[in-house]
């Protein structure tokens, strides 16, 4: 009596397409945890107007105790109120919008710039490649946070300036990784074959190099959001990032930290939110890296 159906583990492996990679990622519990956190935070940020009972900037008449202290979490105030009697839950959800917008915009610019620099340097080689990569080395020698603080302090910070400053500091890693991958790829036979066939440089770049670089770019774009969120929070905490009254998780802590011994929730609830968002993108990014395994591409 033989069973003709093959056992599960003999099933053909999913093809390494993006869709297959996503399915394989969903089998990792930590990646699912990360994705769930991202969906939750993005959902809360989008649905903020329907979820909160008070506008984020409203200084509620009953939001302070008779002595003028902030209200602790519970009852009417889900997460308590801040020093000005504003609803912390409301500021937290609107603050998620700030973090996500900066995370996506700043990181998008950084990854785009890094890809262009890395791809150009790896493809052109010669003196252009040397100049670009030496400049990248130079940027690596800057203490990133110090540079960001200086830049943010120089320009009057608004949401977009902060995003731009973070992008200027964060493009370097992507550039280096994309450069390494591109130089490895251009030495492979299929690129030489394309050249022999008379394909133009633009065609090779667009149709043959870029598709191989996508996994790397996706991984770094995901991990980079985490770095960006942390950098924005730090700048805002120091008071040179997103400016109040626009709520940001970092500036909520900046505004309330003098009171943190008696009202710790004002520091630790937004602090936990920053950690969870950064953690979520780190978990997903790490899972993507293992699933897409970009280090193996471009070699063999």
């Amino acid at each position: 009596m033989t069973d003709t159906t093959p056992p599960d583990h003999a099933a053909p492996l999913a093809a390494p397409t993006e869709r297959g990679a996503f399915a394989r990622m969903l089998r990792r519990p930590l990646a699912v945890l990360g994705l769930a956190l991202i969906v939750l935070i993005v959902g809360a940020a989008i649905a903020a107007p329907w979820l909160v009972s008070y506008p984020p900037d409203q200084q509620n008449f009953d939001g302070l105790t008779l002595e003028g202290a902030p209200m602790p979490p519970g009852g009417q105030w889900l997460m308590g109120t801040d020093l000005l009697g504003r609803d912390l839950f409301s500021r937290l959800l609107y603050g998620a919008r700030t973090s996500l917008i900066i995370g996506i915009v700043a990181n998008g610019i950084a990854v785009g710039l890094g890809t262009v620099v890395g791809l150009t340097a790896g493809w052109m080689r010669g003196w252009i490649g040397t100049v670009l990569m030496r400049f990248t080395d130079l940027m690596m020698a800057f203490p990133a946070l110090l540079l960001a603080i200086c830049l943010a302090a120089i320009f009057r910070p608004s949401l977009w300036i902060v995003a731009l400053v973070i992008a200027m500091v964060n493009w370097v890693q992507t550039a280096r990784v994309v450069y390494t991958e591109t130089t490895a790829l251009t030495e492979r036979d299929f690129i030489a074959a394309e050249r022999t066939l008379g394909a133009s440089g633009a065609r090779i770049l667009w149709h043959h190099l870029l598709p191989h670089l996508w996994p790397t770019i996706i991984v770094w774009a995901t991990l980079g959001i985490s770095t960006t969120v942390l950098l924005e929070a730090t700048l805002s905490y120091l008071g040179v990032g997103v400016q109040p009254p626009t709520p940001s998780w970092g500036n909520i802590i900046f505004e309330n930290q003098t009171y943190f011994q008696s009202a710790p929730w004002l520091v630790f609830i937004p602090g936990a939110a920053i950690l969870l968002l950064a953690l979520a993108f780190n978990l997903v990014g790490d899972a993507l890296r293992e699933v897409l395994d970009p280090t193996q591409r471009g070699r063999r």
């Binding site: 519990p29 930590l30 030496r134 400049f135 080395d137 130079l138 690596m140 020698a141 800057f142 203490p143 990133a144 946070l145 110090l146 540079l147 603080i149 200086c150 830049l151 302090a153 120089i154 320009f155 009057r156 985490s226 942390l230 929070a233 730090t234 905490y237 120091l238 040179v240 970092g250 802590i253 930290q257 943190f260 011994q261 710790p264 520091v267 630790f268 602090g271 920053i274 950690l275 950064a278 953690l279 780190n282 978990l283 790490d286």
Partner: protein, 306 residues
């Protein structure tokens, strides 16, 4: 080796030159006028002009940069606009505190990171391993100022084990060191785990076990020293992360190092100090990277320096 060293030193010098040019240009296009800051709001235009000439700020930018670089090569970083003292001596006075903090952070990250990494590797696939790896991701994702405030709240305010801020004794050093080291601890535990797993799969470990050595002895005497080396080689690279972190950590804990100096200078637009700290940090980062590269071939003789 000598040729490699010389080439790397020249490269490092060029990188530092580039850093000084970029920092100088950035601070030069600063919209806030430092002369106004010094002179005060009620100063007459003549006074403002006078101060501008005294500081050499009326000269074209390349002349200013040339003068600065010339001074820098002679160990002169200029004078602070507001503190009336030499920037070099201000930094020299603050540097020991920062170095002490960085040393503390390196010890903290190695002790926490390596221990957790080894424990995770020895419990591979078990729930303990998974939870340690989630913890290491959390450590990497935690903003330093939140870690700082959390440690202060729990261990200084609630438990009273450590002072709430300040500088001087060993107990002042503990919380800032852990804060600075926690991110590195997250990275090191992950690196240590995979390094340990690699080593444990090696043939010589199987041989050691086969000839009858005890499990603990094999792990401690044969596996650990080999697994630790590639991880230790990374310490030089940490300096870049620390140099950013000192600004936050020192200002939360009131630690009198160069990070605090820089932060105060940024708020007051005291450009010579900002310049000085940036260049000092860049020197530290470049030296750290150089050190990391030079150590590697001693640890793994298969790697040749080109």
């Amino acid at each position: 080796m000598a040729a490699y060293l010389i080439r790397r030193l020249i490269q490092s010098a060029l990188i530092l030159l580039g850093v000084s040019v970029i920092t100088f240009l950035l601070l030069y296009i600063l919209p806030a006028d430092p002369v106004r800051q010094i002179a005060g709001r009620s100063a007459t235009p003549e006074v403002v002009e006078n101060i501008r000439r005294q500081l050499g700020l009326d000269q074209p930018v390349w002349v200013q940069y040339g003068n600065y670089l010339w001074g820098l090569l002679h160990g002169d970083m200029g004078r602070s606009y507001l503190q009336r003292s030499e920037v070099a001596s201000l930094i020299a006075a603050r540097l020991p505190a920062t170095l002490q903090l960085m040393l503390g952070a390196i010890i903290a990250e190695l002790v926490i990171g390596l221990t957790l990494g080894v424990v995770a590797a020895l419990n591979r696939g078990k729930p303990l391993d998974t939870s340690l790896m989630v913890a290491s991701f959390a450590a990497v994702s935690a903003p330093q100022f939140v870690v700082a405030l959390l440690l202060l709240y729990v261990f200084a305010v609630k438990l009273g084990w450590f002072p709430i801020g300040g500088y001087g004794t060993f107990s002042h050093l503990v919380l800032p060191s852990i804060t600075m080291g926690i991110m590195g601890a997250g990275w090191y535990s992950r690196m240590m785990r995979s390094s340990m797993l690699d080593v444990l799969r090696a043939d010589y470990i199987r041989t050691a076990r086969a000839k009858g050595l005890g499990r603990m002895r094999v792990i401690l005497r044969h596996a650990l020293p080999n697994a630790i080396l590639p991880v230790i080689a990374m310490i030089g690279m940490d300096i870049g992360i620390f140099m950013g972190g000192v600004v936050v950590v020192e200002s939360v804990f009131g630690w009198p190092g160069i990070g605090q100096l820089a932060w105060q200078a940024i708020q007051r637009v005291d450009i010579p100090i900002i310049m000085g700290v940036t260049i000092t940090s860049a020197v530290a980062i470049v030296l750290g990277n150089l050190l990391a590269d030079l150590i590697t071939p001693f640890i793994d003789p298969r790697i040749k320096l080109r």
